[in-house]
């Protein structure tokens, strides 16, 4: 499993033009296209606390400022804090059977920080009541915010009124008769008070500047400083409001919540990955990883990389699906990909207009989905259709060419039982022995010849690439329309890093 940590020797070109290793790709079965983290749309699926594993509804998370109400982290090292018990005498000293009086304090097992050091009194309940720090300026800021809201609201209303006046001439009774509202009020004996809405909002009091500034205390020139008493920038920024400068002002902070993320294909609006709701589960409800659908390519052996003579490489193909597939090795043809990207950019403007008109026509309704019914209601798009990510020109260049074999080869379906069975290994497949040098169950090794381009120098990394055409069996369409599984040819560009010359 070297590809998990090691450098990526084999990379696949995603539909969007980025190169990724196979485990980093998704395969949308509805579009029959590769997708990657860059070209799918991520969404927040569920919110939970990583310490107490509690699911938090998004509305609650919003109120709690994305922090867990129960779990606290160390203000010094940001690890989880533990609640510790301290016994302090008994509840009722007169009664000999009285239970011990318990108090609780917070302590960090990693750095030794504890709530007593900063003078937070012990609590009588293990879960809480830990004092929260208030923003000392919140009253003033709230007052400001309220008046700003009012000012802007009255401005907005004034603007709307102005608009109405422009268009609504001769509509009002008073306008037509030439009597103003104010005159009318007087005539019928109502005191002339302007409408409450038109009243000028109250203005916040301005701050006043002073010539007095905070002087540098003289202790800076004489006092010895123990750095253990001074907070680091990370410790300060953990508490943006107070940003304490000394460690005795550090207060425990609530733990930041985490999310589970689902990923949506931007073309068909369906999920390519959706996790299970339970925070303890690492499984998925939907997981269209390319690893389960696209044959895996591994580099087995690379011969001598020398200019002027073909180099033999052996690569292994593994079929991860339950269906037999046929693989054809084709030219890389980067020019074709470039043309595709350019064509897309040409369509760019008209496409955007289309998106716009679609949004205006159906602001909340669902876009019509071509073809089959969606698999579940949950995978329906709740909102506007997605903008698609523009494909990019593939950046990787190659400095060697693969000699394209004349024949194709078959990859049998995956059979988990066959892994343990050595006897039945011949699938009665007639192979071109010039191409296929080994096969076993759903795996095949083939031999390719690579010619390094003229002008490459020793020490240079050699890259080659080819297009893999494989027959993909789509069972999704079959499920919905009671048809035979659809077979189609899917092409992927694959790049190999052969190492240094």
């Amino acid at each position: 499993m070297s590809y998990i940590t090691g450098p990526e020797y084999v990379r696949y070109a995603c539909t969007c033009g980025l190169l990724k290793s196979l485990p980093n790709l998704y395969f949308c079965r509805h579009c029959s296209q590769l997708r990657c983290g860059f070209c799918v749309c991520p969404e927040v699926d569920s919110i939970f606390c990583g310490k107490c594993s509690e699911n938090i509804p998004s509305a609650e998370a919003k109120v709690k400022k994305n922090k867990c109400a129960n779990c606290l982290i160390c203000p010094s090292c940001q690890q989880d804090l533990s609640t510790r018990i301290a016994s302090k005498g008994v509840v009722n000293p007169d009664d000999s059977k009285s239970p011990a009086k318990k108090t609780y304090y917070l302590s960090c097992y990693f750095c030794g920080w504890n709530s007593r050091d900063v003078g937070i009194p012990d609590q009588t309940s293990p879960t809480g009541g830990w004092p929260e720090r208030e923003n000392v300026h919140s009253n003033r800021l709230q007052e400001l915010l309220d008046s700003y809201k009012q000012i802007m609201l009255s401005q907005k209303q004034q603007k709307e009124n102005d608009k109405k006046k422009k268009f609504g001439k001769f509509v009002s009774y008073t306008d037509r008769t030439g009597i103003t509202a104010s005159a009318l009020r007087k005539r019928i004996g109502i005191p002339d008070i302007p409408h409450a809405m038109l009243r000028k909002p109250k203005l916040p009091e301005s701050s006043t500047a002073t010539t007095e500034v905070e002087e540098l205390p003289d202790k800076f020139f004489t006092q010895e400083i123990d750095l253990l008493e001074v907070t680091t920038i990370e410790q300060r920024l953990l508490q943006p409001e107070s940003q304490p400068v000394t460690v005795d002002k550090l207060f425990p902070a609530h733990k930041q919540l985490s999310i589970k993320k689902s990923l949506r294909c931007r073309h068909c609006e369906r999920n390519v990955s959706k996790p299970e709701y339970n925070p303890n589960s690492i499984k998925f409800k939907i997981q269209l990883f390319a690893y389960y659908h696209i044959p895996e390519v591994r580099l087995v052996k690379v011969g001598d990389l020398k200019r002027g003579q073909p180099c033999e490489i052996i690569i292994k193909f593994t079929n991860p699906t339950q269906h037999q597939t046929t693989i054809t090795i084709l030219n890389l043809d980067l020019a074709e990909q470039e043309r595709y990207v350019e064509e897309q950019q040409m369509m760019d403007i008209s496409e955007n207009l289309e998106v716009l008109s679609l949004q205006f026509k159906q602001p909340t309704s669902l876009p019509s989905l071509p073809g089959s019914q969606p698999s579940s209601l949950l995978s329906l798009p709740p909102r506007q259709p997605h903008l698609t990510i523009k494909s990019r020109k593939i950046k990787q260049t190659v400095n060697s060419t693969v000699e394209i074999p004349q024949s194709v080869f078959i990859l049998p379906p995956r059979d988990d039982a066959a892994e343990y069975d050595d006897s039945n290994d011949t699938h009665n497949i007639e192979d071109d022995s010039n191409l296929v040098i080994w096969r076993k169950s759903n795996k095949v090794c083939i031999k390719l010849l690579v010619n390094i381009h003229e002008g490459e120098t020793i020490g240079e990394e050699v890259f080659c690439g080819f297009t893999m055409d494989h027959v993909y069996t789509n069972i999704i369409a079959a499920n919905f329309e009671n048809k035979q599984p659809q077979k189609l040819n899917h092409k992927v560009r694959i790049f190999l890093n052969l190492g240094k010359m």
């Binding site: 915010l145 802007m152 907005k156 002073t210 400083i225 949004q359 709740p382 506007q384």
Partner: protein
């Protein structure tokens, strides 16, 4: 299961102030950012930390921002960005490539519904409720001075110098090189940590003596700084006191932090000068250093005796005190503006962006019109 918000709930907007060193993130209507994080991402290909402003090309910047905005929404904001409004607080001098790339990432990659772009020098005044002030922003890359008059930034008179955290870090390394401790090529994290925990802005009288080749000044105590676990580094008193002196060392053109401020005043209308001098507003993380304000005042008063500034006819300087920490003062302005109807009235919508393919520009006066929130306050007061 995705949880849909009830239609009645007020849509709060994400407020972002992406600085060259730190990004302030939070929501409208709140009075402090939720998080202040470094403006950097981990590059998946090379597994190294890369700062956003170290981009190599437009596409590189786009990719860095895609990664960074992903972190903002999915690690901190915990909401799907699609169809959400976003408030961006940015410097009036923000490079066009950066603001356009950010807009492109937010609209095309994350499909936000609208972006409200606010100039940091203007909106940082919201928490003070003043509309005329001389705003001095000392951040990481540079110090930028822009006067604001009656709710409008007087952009033509801007002054900027590369005086900020980065210059101070470099200066600390230079000061170490001059000692015999052999502490060379310290990483920027260590230099930053030494700056934050050991250094301060000293008084002018001491600074003058420190600049002399010899003086009988009693040095401030040294600090033992443990470095890489076992090694101890001595941060001597001279380094602690001189780290910030770079702000007031005049360059070849006699420019430094204090002259910038006075030069900006020279460029505005005569009648406005005294009002600005009596409404100085300091923002940016560097301003939080102990002694910073006091020293700036001393330096400004000293410069007044200079022939160049005598004609200012300014006698005193007054400073505002922010109801927040200086490093998120601009962010707070964004959170206040974004909580009002201003958000709906002045945002750039996705529809507009898809048609125009760019954001309106600050420098374009017609566009600046849209930022006259401050002046609206003035007219209401009059």
């Amino acid at each position: 299961m995705p949880i849909y918000e009830p239609l009645t709930s007020e849509k709060v907007a994400v407020v972002l102030d992406i600085g060259s060193a730190f990004t302030k993130f939070g929501f409208t209507s709140e009075f402090a950012p939720r998080n202040i994080i470094r403006s950097q991402v981990r590059c998946k290909n090379t597994n190294t930390i890369r700062r956003l402003y170290d981009f190599q090309s437009a596409e590189d910047l786009y990719d860095l921002l895609v990664e960074f905005i992903h972190t903002i929404f999915f690690k901190y904001a915990l909401i799907s960005p699609k169809d959400r409004p976003v408030v961006i607080v940015e410097s009036l001098l923000c490079p066009t490539l950066f603001r356009e790339s950010l807009a492109k990432v937010l609209f095309l990659q994350y499909e936000v519904s609208s972006i409200l772009v606010l100039p940091s020098h203007l909106v940082c005044l919201a928490s003070l409720a003043v509309d005329t002030a001389l705003v001095v922003d000392v951040g990481y890359k540079e110090a930028v001075v822009i006067p604001v008059g009656f709710g409008l930034p007087i952009v033509q008179t801007w002054q900027a110098l590369p005086l900020g955290g980065e210059a101070i870090h470099k200066n600390i390394q230079v000061l170490f090189n001059n000692t015999s401790t052999g502490a060379q090529n310290l990483s920027e994290e260590v230099l930053e940590d030494i700056k934050v925990r050991c250094c301060f802005v000293t008084k002018k009288s001491r600074a003058d003596q420190l600049a002399l080749p010899r003086s009988d000044l009693i040095p401030v105590p040294d600090i033992k700084y443990s470095h890489r676990g076992s090694q101890t580094l001595t941060v001597n008193g001279k380094i602690r006191e001189k780290a910030f002196e770079i702000l007031y060392e005049e360059d070849n053109d006699h420019f430094c932090l204090s002259t910038m401020i006075l030069d900006a005043m020279l460029l505005v209308d005569r009648d406005l000068r005294n009002i600005l001098a009596e409404n100085l507003v300091l923002t940016g993380g560097t301003c939080m250093t102990p002694g910073f304000k006091a020293r700036l005042k001393e330096e400004l008063l000293k410069q007044l005796s200079n022939d160049r500034y005598r004609k200012l006819n300014v006698k005193q300087f007054k400073f505002h005190s922010m109801p927040c920490k200086e490093n998120y003062a601009s962010w707070l302005g964004g959170a206040l503006y974004g909580a009002t109807e201003f958000l709906g009235m002045k945002s750039v919508t996705k529809e507009f962006y898809l048609k125009e393919k760019h954001l309106p520009d600050w420098i374009n006066l017609k566009d600046v019109e849209s930022a006259r929130f401050g002046s609206d306050v003035t007219s209401a007061r009059a």
